[in-house]
């Protein structure tokens, strides 16, 4: 049974269909691992043992009746930003410590309809605001490759759970890199789809024009399976794209010969760790050997993307966070003496430092007298960022660079310097500003820690992006490295 944790989802599926093991047995194996290992990684906020075993028994019944879909009976970990009916959804915040949503997020509903088994809700930076998982009210998820380092953020719990083999699949959300950066830090594969591809209904909002849910897994083949389940139009999300369901596994083996890969010169500046540069250069050469053409390109607005992103994300955050008022749900302060006291103390007690900083900065950027200089200015630069991509995608099919400028850093490295932490998002935020799909894959190791390569594609070109990633993983084995020995199993 122990070998299953190293298997791809297709192999797990074969095991279920050939009755080598049942979904209940498979689920029990993962729940046992979580009970043993997650005391070190802290990747789950809530483990749903009873519900998972119930869902697994239901999946076994479907398999027996010959009604199994592709992911029926396969366990997954769900980022605690996706609302789950009858199971608490904290979003990593004291504000929602006792919050039980009255409905399921569309992503959760789709996973349930597919017969998947939810093992639990994973750790994350508070309200998805952070790049290290350290802003979580529940303590950070540690990096399974080195527990003294961060797992990244905000979907650090999902990334750590996959890397520690506590789940074969996980959901994540990405507002400025929150799927890709923890994927890079933990040595797993993660995809931020095109904005609008995956429904945002029931995914707790942070920056509504930037937020996008997506899959996290060991390999691209598994990402394609989960994306096929969670993507598609949803009438409950007014910004959901009209495209219907798609089978993203269908074109995985499509040749990448003659595809043109752009290498943005701005991504290889002095700020990039030289060891990472060597690894990414090597990965690019590898992809060239597979038949792709390499072309140097420029994204001139790169130096402005991080400040622009933080103005827009903070502004949208300050607006979205206004719903937490202590009245209808969430944390409420004791004995308020006025309505303003109720709002002000409930919010002061319920939100952590980083969320408060962003609300205050966002309020500043939107306030009278500063709106033009900050919020509108950032929206104009956002147009330039999008134009950069439109222009470059006339000549190339994909863009490749590092996912992050460094490997996973040690905990508390940026505890007193939020700006330095923000700068670690330099390569990821522009795909959110422009709304493009972007993938992070393991491409090597330095100092015993994984390094991520980022591949960005044109709008709605997830299939092509995944086929390039799959071609790379078919010819390399970075995605097969695992850490379980370090974790004592």
């Amino acid at each position: 049974m122990h070998d299953v944790i190293l298997s791809t989802v297709s192999t797990l599926k074969e095991g279920l269909l050939s009755k080598k093991y049942s979904s209940v047995e498979l689920t029990t194996e993962y729940l046992d691992r979580i009970a043993t290992i997650d005391t070190s990684t802290n990747s789950f906020i809530t483990v749903c043992e009873e519900e998972a075993l119930r869902q697994a028994a239901r999946a076994d019944e479907l398999i027996k009746q010959g009604k199994a879909g592709v992911l029926t009976g396969i366990p997954y970990a769900n980022k605690d930003i996706f609302c789950t009916k009858n199971i608490r959804t904290t979003c990593g915040s004291k504000m929602l410590d006792n919050f039980i949503a009255p409905y399921n997020a569309t992503v959760v509903e789709k996973c349930m309809d597919a017969g998947m088994v939810m093992l639990g809700k994973t750790n994350m930076d508070e309200f998805a605001m952070g790049s290290s998982n350290e802003t979580s009210y529940y303590g950070r998820a540690n990096n399974p490759w080195d527990l003294t380092r961060v797992s990244g953020g905000s979907s650090g719990g999902s990334a750590a759970a996959i890397a520690a083999r506590l789940a074969p699949l996980a959901t994540g959300s990405d507002t400025g890199g929150s799927i890709r950066q923890p994927s890079a830090f933990c040595g797993i594969s993660g995809l931020k789809p095109t904005y609008g591809r995956v429904s945002r209904y029931g995914m707790i909002a942070f920056g509504s024009s930037l937020d996008q849910g997506g899959p996290m897994a060991h390999c691209v083949e598994d990402l394609a399976l989960l994306l096929s389940v969670i993507a598609g139009h949803d009438h409950k999300d007014s910004t959901s794209n009209k495209r219907g369901p798609e089978d993203f596994s269908r074109h995985l083996n499509k040749s990448i010969k003659s595809k043109v890969i752009g290498i943005p010169k701005e991504y290889f500046s002095n700020n990039l760790n030289p060891e990472i540069q060597i690894i990414i250069d090597e990965a690019i050469k590898h992809i060239e050997k597979l038949g792709a053409k390499i072309k140097d390109v420029s994204l001139p607005s790169t130096s402005l993307v991080v400040p622009t992103y933080y103005v827009l994300a903070s502004a949208e955050c300050s607006s979205n966070m206004s719903r937490y008022d202590g009245v209808r749900f969430g944390h409420r302060c004791e004995d308020p003496n006025s309505i303003d006291d109720l709002y002000e103390r409930s919010r002061a007690e319920g939100f952590g430092d980083e969320v408060k900083r962003r609300i205050l900065m966002g309020t500043y950027a939107l306030s009278s007298g500063y709106y033009d200089a900050y919020y509108e200015k950032a929206q104009k630069i956002r147009r330039l960022v999008k134009n950069d991509y439109i222009s470059v995608f006339k000549d190339v099919d994909f863009l490749i660079g590092p996912t992050c400028p460094s490997i996973a850093f040690h905990a508390e490295t940026f505890a007193h310097d939020p700006v330095q932490m923000y700068l670690s998002d330099v390569y990821t935020v522009s795909a959110n500003l422009a709304g493009l799909p972007s993938l992070s894959l393991p491409a090597g190791f330095t100092q015993g820690m994984p390094v991520g390569m980022q591949i960005t594609g044109n709008y709605f070109k997830e299939s092509e992006l995944l086929s390039l990633g799959h071609a790379y993983q078919t010819n390399t084995d970075w995605h097969n490295r695992y850490t379980t020995e370090k974790l004592g199993r």
């Binding site: 006792n98 400040p307 009245v327 919010r347 900083r357 147009r383």
Partner: protein, 95 residues
């Protein structure tokens, strides 16, 4: 440019977050650093550029204004902290 304690107090008032006066100096320091970083945006001229509010410009699908779900009031109310006869309760607002 820097964020003054008056700025912090005003933003906290607008955002309805109470802030302990002993924390104001550290907010001033951190938010000033963030503001200076954001000011890097001022290095380019964007006078002729149209703002972009949303990455995919075909947005905001609407539907007919008809009830499609059963009354979910009880469902939404069950996790509220303070309720009285189906109403949320708050401190007295009107004298």
């Amino acid at each position: 440019m820097s964020i003054s304690s008056k700025n912090v107090e005003e933003m906290a008032r607008l955002a309805r977050i109470s802030i302990n006066s002993k924390d104001i100096p550290s907010y001033c320091e951190q938010l000033s650093k963030i503001l200076n970083f954001m000011n890097e945006m001022q290095s380019i001229d964007t006078d002729t550029i149209e703002p972009l509010a949303h990455p995919i410009e075909e947005i905001n699908a609407t539907r007919a204004d008809v009830v499609t779900e059963a009354d979910t009031r009880q469902n939404a109310h069950q996790y509220a902290n303070h309720m009285l006869d189906n109403f949320y309760t708050v401190p007295q607002v009107i004298d």
